[in-house]
């Protein structure tokens, strides 16, 4: 797990910097990004903060002090992230519920070990809610990001193949797409998870399988259009190989579609995970799971509200930022073909 998590961080950072260089080199994209920054400065700032939190929770290693008085022998042998080390969750625990900034337990009136230090209170097991909420950022970004890594290559491969080569290939791909698209996505999602088994990877794969279709369909239609354009025809007439044409002329013109769909898919996948969490097949540590667990606390008397509110607010903040970004991206990159998303 240590190398997987850290490896993912390296890959993500490398991809991000590659994308940054590519944007910088292309005047059209550079200009679009500048306009984006001017339109949604706060959204971009919020998203970078969220990303940073997720990053802090991804860089991890084994060993080091587990904090005084924790007495947790196991923790010393587990990989702990920067965020874990900062909060030292093993020693930052109470016995049960406590309200935000409280000095004693919510139901027991017994004094807390860390009075006034739990900004968002603690949950039933006495864990700090603020810490758990922050950890949710990594899970949410994982759901959206990891799935996109599955979705985008598949969708591009199928969409381009169908749109560019047409004929039999197109018939086959179109049949596959229309078959998958004719199953209501939530049902397909549930079926997939039931069949694949529960767990983070399985949920991500299931989300990937259900959501590649919409992008593939867009890519297919756009490739179809691009293929007929004069400059592609000209390239073909000059004897440029099919592979070269796809690489040089088709792919770059699909980039904006991919970027916008990625952002829109991201929020729909995080939303779908909350439903899965409610159905008991979600991802561990997600806000959906927190909400699902906290929903019954909401009907207690007196109400334990901070658990639910913290997870809901974090979920809303992330989705709002992503949706606002998607909205602006759509305006900046392509106001026309994407209205259906």
């Amino acid at each position: 797990m240590v190398w997987l998590s850290n490896g993912a961080v390296v890959v993500v950072l490398a991809l991000a910097s590659l994308a940054g260089i590519a944007v910088r080199r292309n005047p059209l994209w550079h200009d679009a990004m500048r306009r984006l920054a001017r339109r949604r400065p706060i959204t971009l700032m919020a998203l970078s903060v969220f990303g940073l939190i997720a990053l802090l929770d991804s860089v991890c290693w084994v060993g080091g002090e587990t904090g005084p008085g924790s007495g947790d022998a196991v923790a010393a042998y587990e990989a702990r992230s920067l965020l874990d080390r900062w909060f030292e969750p093993e020693s930052f625990r109470e016995r049960s519920y406590s309200a935000p900034f409280a000095a004693e337990e919510f139901y027991g009136a017994a004094p807390l070990e860390h009075p006034g230090e739990h900004w968002l209170g603690t949950d039933v097991l006495g864990r700090d809610v603020f810490f758990l909420t922050l950890k949710g950022f990594r899970v949410a970004l994982l759901i959206g990001g990891f799935t996109s890594l599955i979705v985008i290559p598949i969708a591009l491969a199928f969409g381009i193949a169908a749109g560019y080569f047409g004929g039999r290939v197109d018939d086959a791909v179109f049949f596959l797409i229309s078959t998958l698209a004719s199953i209501p996505s939530l049902l397909l999602l549930i079926a997939l998870i039931m069949v694949l088994g529960r767990g983070t990877t399985q949920v991500c794969i299931a989300l990937g399988i259900t959501s590649w279709v919409s992008l593939a369909r867009l890519v297919r239609a756009e490739t179809f259009r691009l293929r007929e354009l004069d400059y592609v025809e000209a390239a073909r007439a000059l004897g440029v190989s099919e592979f070269q044409i796809i690489l040089r002329h088709i792919l770059p013109n699909l980039a904006h579609l991919v970027v916008i769909t990625f952002v829109l898919l991201f929020s729909s996948m995080v939303l779908a995970e909350t439903i899965l969490a409610y159905l008991g097949v979600g991802v561990d540590g997600s806000w959906g799971q927190m909400i699902d667990r906290a929903k019954d606390e909401f009907s207690r008397d007196p109400v334990v509200w901070w658990n639910l509110s913290a997870a809901s607010a974090a979920l809303f903040a992330l989705l709002l930022s992503v949706n606002l970004l998607g909205d602006a991206l759509r305006d900046v990159l392509d106001p026309r073909t994407l209205r259906e998303l």
Binding site: F175, L180, I190, A191, V195, T274
Partner: protein, 328 residues
């Protein structure tokens, strides 16, 4: 045009066959009958119980090819799980639940009405509200009202359905005490009191994305040349919206509306469970929790059937509604 309808129906049927194959792959090969049986009878059950369960549920045959028959015999291919899966599903013989052995068709019939009672008002109310509101917003285009409305829609889209339900139930059911928090009744005189809350929440949850979508459509139409022509002949904003813009926007709206029809069936997955309405959504959730693969399989199949039917309906209505398609 009839040729088109027939062709469309045929393609729909082929898609159904595709869906069935996909379901077979998922429920018979990825999760094979042995796993299902083991989950149903428990890990420690004797081999006899286990074999008996497989036989009772019709899982005791090979997947694709039955080696008991000679190669020339057709039964080598028909007496298999694949063939019986196709046969059962296409003849709507859904068999019994893997979890509690009740006939699935009976449970579907029971659940259909409560589900419809919940989802139909949500569907209709959501449609009316969102079209009316988005027309209103479209009238205020290029003003702060419009921009505010868009931001509100995006915000509404960022709230998970789960949260709409939790907070809606809390606010309306618990704090304001307008309606009972949950429950259901077969008595038509009482049942609306139970349905009011989930319907209200359902409509509210659908407004954000729908208004945003319809607004985009209306604005797109409002910028077209024929609108300018209508203005130039002295058309007022109201009749412009009703006679010209709405009529042209009907086509994309139609597409959107029909694609939401299958969600009448499953969209209430969460709220049925929350509000204790014994519909198909609740049945699905039960199937998930009880590892009831045969029920789940049936639900997915029916959802897909409805969806394919709805798509065919859209395409056909489209040809009627759009003179460019109808008259070629």
């Amino acid at each position: 045009m009839w040729a088109y309808v027939v062709r469309r129906l045929l393609y729909g049927f082929i898609t159904v066959l595709g869906v069935l194959f996909l379901l077979f792959l998922l429920f018979f090969t990825v999760a094979n009958p042995e796993d299902i049986a083991r989950k149903a009878v428990g890990e420690k059950a004797s081999p006899e119980v286990y074999a008996q369960w497989l036989e009772n549920h019709g899982y005791d045959r090979p997947l694709f090819v039955n080696p008991e028959y000679p190669t020339s015999s057709l039964a080598r291919y028909t007496d298999t799980l694949l063939a019986s899966h196709y046969h059962d599903m296409l003849t709507f013989d859904f068999g019994r639940s893997d979890a509690d052995d009740t006939p699935i068709s009976a449970r579907l019939r029971e659940g259909a009405l409560p589900s419809l009672l919940l989802t139909f008002p949500v569907f209709l109310g959501g449609l009316l509200f969102s079209i009316a509101l988005s027309l209103l917003i479209a009238l205020f285009r290029d003003t702060y009202i419009d921009r505010m409305a868009v931001v509100l829609c995006v915000a509404a889209m960022s709230i998970a359905t789960l949260l709409y339900i939790i907070f809606g139930q809390f606010l309306i059911g618990k704090v304001l005490r307008w309606f009972p928090i949950s429950g259901f009744s077969g008595d038509p005189a009482v049942v609306w009191r139970f349905l009011a809350l989930p319907v209200m929440i359902g409509i509210l949850a659908s407004l954000g994305p729908d208004i945003r979508f319809y607004r985009t459509i209306f604005l797109e139409e409002a910028h077209r040349d024929y609108v300018r022509t209508a203005r130039a002949k002295g058309c007022g904003e109201g009749s412009l919206m009703a006679n010209h813009i709405l009529r042209n926007a009907m086509l994309p709206i139609l597409t959107r509306v029909v694609t939401t029809i299958p969600f009448l069936f499953v969209g209430s997955l969460l709220s049925e469970n929350f509000f204790g309405i014994p519909g198909l959504g609740a049945l699905t959730v039960e199937a998930i929790n009880g590892n009831d693969f045969s029920t789940l399989r049936t639900m997915v199949y029916i959802g897909a059937l409805l969806f394919i039917g709805a798509q065919i309906l859209t395409d056909v209505t489209y040809t009627i509604a759009d003179p460019r398609v109808r008259l070629g």
